[in-house]
Amino acid sequence: MLERAEIIRQEYLRHDKKFPHVWCPGCGNGIVMGALLRAVHTLELSKDEVVLASGIGCSGRMPTYVDFNTIHTTHGRALTFSTGIKLAKPELTVITVMGDGDSTAIGGNHFIHAARRNLDLTAIIINNSTYGMTGGQYSPTTPYGSISTTSVYGHVEHAFCIAELAVTAGASFVARGTVYHATHLEEIIQQAIKKKGFSVVEVISNCHVQHGRRNKLGGAVAMINSFKENAVRVNKAEKMSAEELEGKFTIGVLADVDKPISTEQYKRVVAEARKNAVKNADEKEKTKVKRYE
C-alpha cells in the first residue's frame, strides 16, 4: 500500500512545481486527487494521453500539481475547453475537475449540455457546498437555512442535487462518492474513465474552514465522519422510507446507460460528407458545364 503510494507520488506529481499547494490542511481536494491518480495508475493510462482540465476555485488548482497534459481554464468553462480538446484529438482521455459553484452555477449551462451532447468525457465534481476560495459565499449546493458570508441570516434558496441533475440531463454514467469513502471513490472514478460517453462523479467533500466553521459542523475530521454517517448506498436507499432518508444522501452508481457517443457519431457525418463531395465532383466532371460555385 505504502509502496504504491510512493510510486504514485513519484510518478504523477510535478516535482518541478513549487509546492506547497494552496489547499487548507484537512481539505478533501487532496483525497479526490489521490483517488484520481490511483484510478489512472490502475487503468494503466499513459500520462501523455491524459488531459486534466479544471475551472476556477480551490478545485481549479488540481491540474497544476499533476504530471499530465493539464489546463486550468476560466470559471465554469472547463467543459467547453475539454469539448474542444476531445473533438480535436479523440484519442486523448479528457478528465475535467470542477467545484460545485464552478459546474452548476456559472458553468451550469455547459454542464447540462455536455451531458446532453454525450461526448466521451469524464467530469469529477467536488461538492463542498460553498465557494471556498472567495471566502465562503453560498453556492448552488449550499443547504437551505445554512449560514454563509452572503447568507448570514440563513440561506433562503434550495440546493441542487448534482448527480441527479446529471442523470436528468442525459449523462451516460453518474456516480456519487465522498472523501470519507476513498477506496469507493477510486473505484467509481475508474468506472467513469472507462465508460464510453459523458460520465459524472460527484464527490461530497468538506470545507470545514468556510462552510463547516460557520455552520458549527466541526473540523475536517468531524465533517468527514459525518459523510460516513449520512451516506447510504444506492441499493440500500431503495428499501428505505422517506423518513429514514431524511438528512441522508446516496452514494454509488446512479446511472449507467449505453447510448450513441457524439464523437463516434460524427465519424458517420465525416464519411457521408466525403461521399457527397466525391459525388458532386464527379457530376461536375461529367456535365463539363462551367459555372460559378
Binding site: K17, T64, N69, T80, I85, A88, R274
Partner: protein, 380 residues
C-alpha cells in the same frame, strides 16, 4: 471569366469567402452559435469541415464556442469561431484567456448595430474599440478589417498565419455589408497561398519550457498529446507555465507578450493605399466604408482634386508609422466610419503633423455612400 490553372473565379458572398480563406489556411475546427449576420459561416463549415476530415460543432452559447475553439487549438488544430456583437461580448473573458495562455485562434465578428441586441441586422463599425479593449487587463491582440469579398479570403488566411506565428488570438472585423455582398472573386490556388504553422519545440520533452522567451518572443508550442506534457493556465505564469506572483516573473511575462507583437509590427500592420502618391487630401477608411471611399476618391480625381485613400487592413496594433507618414503628407484627413469615431480617435491621438482631421460618422444603420465622402473631400 476563365479558370486559369492556379486561379479560380467564383461568385461568393463575404461570409463564404471567409470560409474559403479559413479552409485554405488549414482551419479544421469550428465551434459557434447561431447569430445573424454571421450564421452562413457556421452553415457552410458544417458541410465543408467534415469533407476535409475536420470538425464542426454548434455549442450552447458563444462562451462555450470560444472555449471549445481554444481547447481544439491546444490539441493542435487550427480553429475558428464566428459571431456578431452580442456573441462577441460573451466571448470577451475567454478571449483574454487566449491572450494570456497564448493560444492561436481566429474570431470573426460580423458587426451589426449595437449596443445590446441593437440594430439587427444593419451594418455598423461599432465594435472597433471593443475588439481591441473588450477583454479586461493589459493584453496584446491583433484586429484586422475586411472591406470586400476578396479581402475576406486573403485577410482570413493572413489572420490564421499571424495567429499561429505570434500565438495570439486574431479578430477579423467584418460587417453586414461585406458579409452579404456577392461578387466574383479570383481565389488563388493552394500552391499560391503561404500557410504558416505554429513552431513546434525541437528539444526533448524533459527540456521543454512551454513559456520560455526566445529571440522571437514567441515560445515554441507543443500540442496536447504530443508527448510534451505541460500546464496551461489563465493565471500569470512563469517559464514553465506554473502560476507565479513573483514581481520579476510577472513583469517579464507582461513585457514579453507585448513585445512579441511590437517586434512583428512590420509583418502585422497592413495598410493599402490608392492614389496617394501626390495626394493632398486623404480618406482613411476600413471595412465596407473603404469601398465607398475609393469610389469617392476616384470621382474627386476626375474633378481635379488631389485625393487619395488609405485603407486600414490592420486596425490594431494601430499602424501608427504608415498613417503618420500620410498625415504629414496631407493637409486634410477625412475619416468616415459607421460609428461615432472609434478609429478617428486613434488618428487624432497620433496626429503630430497638424493635419486637419475631419470625422464623418453615420450611425443610422446604412452604409456611408461615396457621395457623402465626396462632399467632404470637395469641401476640405
Amino acid at each position: 471569366m476563365v479558370d486559369s490553372e492556379n486561379v479560380k473565379r467564383v461568385l461568393l458572398q463575404g461570409n463564404e469567402a471567409i470560409v474559403a480563406g479559413a479552409l485554405a489556411a488549414g482551419c479544421r475546427f469550428f465551434a459557434g452559435y447561431p447569430i445573424t449576420p454571421a450564421s452562413e459561416i457556421s452553415e457552410l463549415l458544417s458541410i465543408k469541415l467534415p469533407e476535409l476530415g475536420g470538425t464542426f460543432i454548434q455549442m450552447e452559447d458563444e462562451i462555450a464556442s470560444i472555449g471549445a475553439v481554444i481547447g481544439a487549438s491546444l490539441a493542435g488544430t487550427k480553429s475558428l469561431t464566428a459571431t456578431s456583437g452580442p456573441g462577441f461580448s460573451l466571448m470577451q473573458e475567454n478571449l483574454g484567456y487566449a491572450c494570456v495562455a497564448e493560444v492561436p485562434c481566429v474570431i470573426v465578428n460580423v458587426m451589426r448595430g449595437g449596443p445590446s441586441t441593437g440594430l439587427p441586422t444593419s451594418p455598423s463599425q461599432g465594435d472597433v474599440q471593443m475588439a481591441r479593449w473588450g477583454t479586461h487587463g493589459d493584453h496584446p491582440i491583433i484586429v484586422l478589417a475586411v472591406s470586400s469579398v476578396a479581402d475576406c479570403f486573403s485577410v482570413t488566411v493572413k489572420a490564421f498565419n499571424l495567429s499561429e506565428k505570434y500565438r495570439v488570438p486574431v479578430i477579423i472585423l467584418s460587417d453586414e455589408v461585406v458579409a452579404h455582398t456577392r461578387e466574383a472573386v479570383a481565389l488563388p490556388g493552394n500552391d499560391q497561398i503561404r500557410v504558416i504553422d505554429r513552431v513546434a519545440p525541437d528539444v526533448p520533452p524533459e527540456w521543454y519550457k512551454p513559456y520560455a522567451d526566445n529571440n522571437r518572443g514567441v515560445p515554441d508550442m507543443a500540442n496536447f498529446g504530443d508527448g510534451y506534457r505541460h500546464h496551461v493556465t489563465g493565471l500569470i505564469h512563469d517559464d514553465m507555465g506554473y502560476p507565479t506572483q513573483n514581481p520579476q516573473e510577472v513583469e517579464k511575462f507582461y513585457k514579453r507578450i507585448h513585445s512579441k507583437i511590437s517586434k512583428g509590427f512590420q509583418d502585422i500592420q497592413v495598410t493599402k493605399t490608392f492614389l496617394m502618391e501626390d495626394a493632398e487630401i486623404c480618406v482613411i477608411a476600413y471595412g465596407s466604408v473603404a469601398r465607398s471611399a475609393l469610389k469617392a476618391v476616384r470621382t474627386a480625381r476626375e474633378q481635379g482634386v488631389k485625393a487619395g485613400l488609405v485603407q486600414l487592413v490592420t486596425l490594431f496594433p494601430f499602424p501608427r508609422k504608415s498613417v503618420d507618414m500620410y498625415l504629414r503628407q496631407c493637409r486634410v484627413a477625412i475619416v468616415p466610419e459607421m460609428n461615432m469615431g472609434q478609429i478617428s480617435r486613434e488618428i487624432t491621438r497620433i496626429n503630430q503633423a497638424n493635419c486637419r482631421i475631419v470625422k464623418h460618422n453615420r450611425i443610422d444603420g446604412h452604409l456611408i455612400s461615396p457621395d457623402e465622402i465626396l462632399k467632404r473631400i470637395v469641401k476640405a
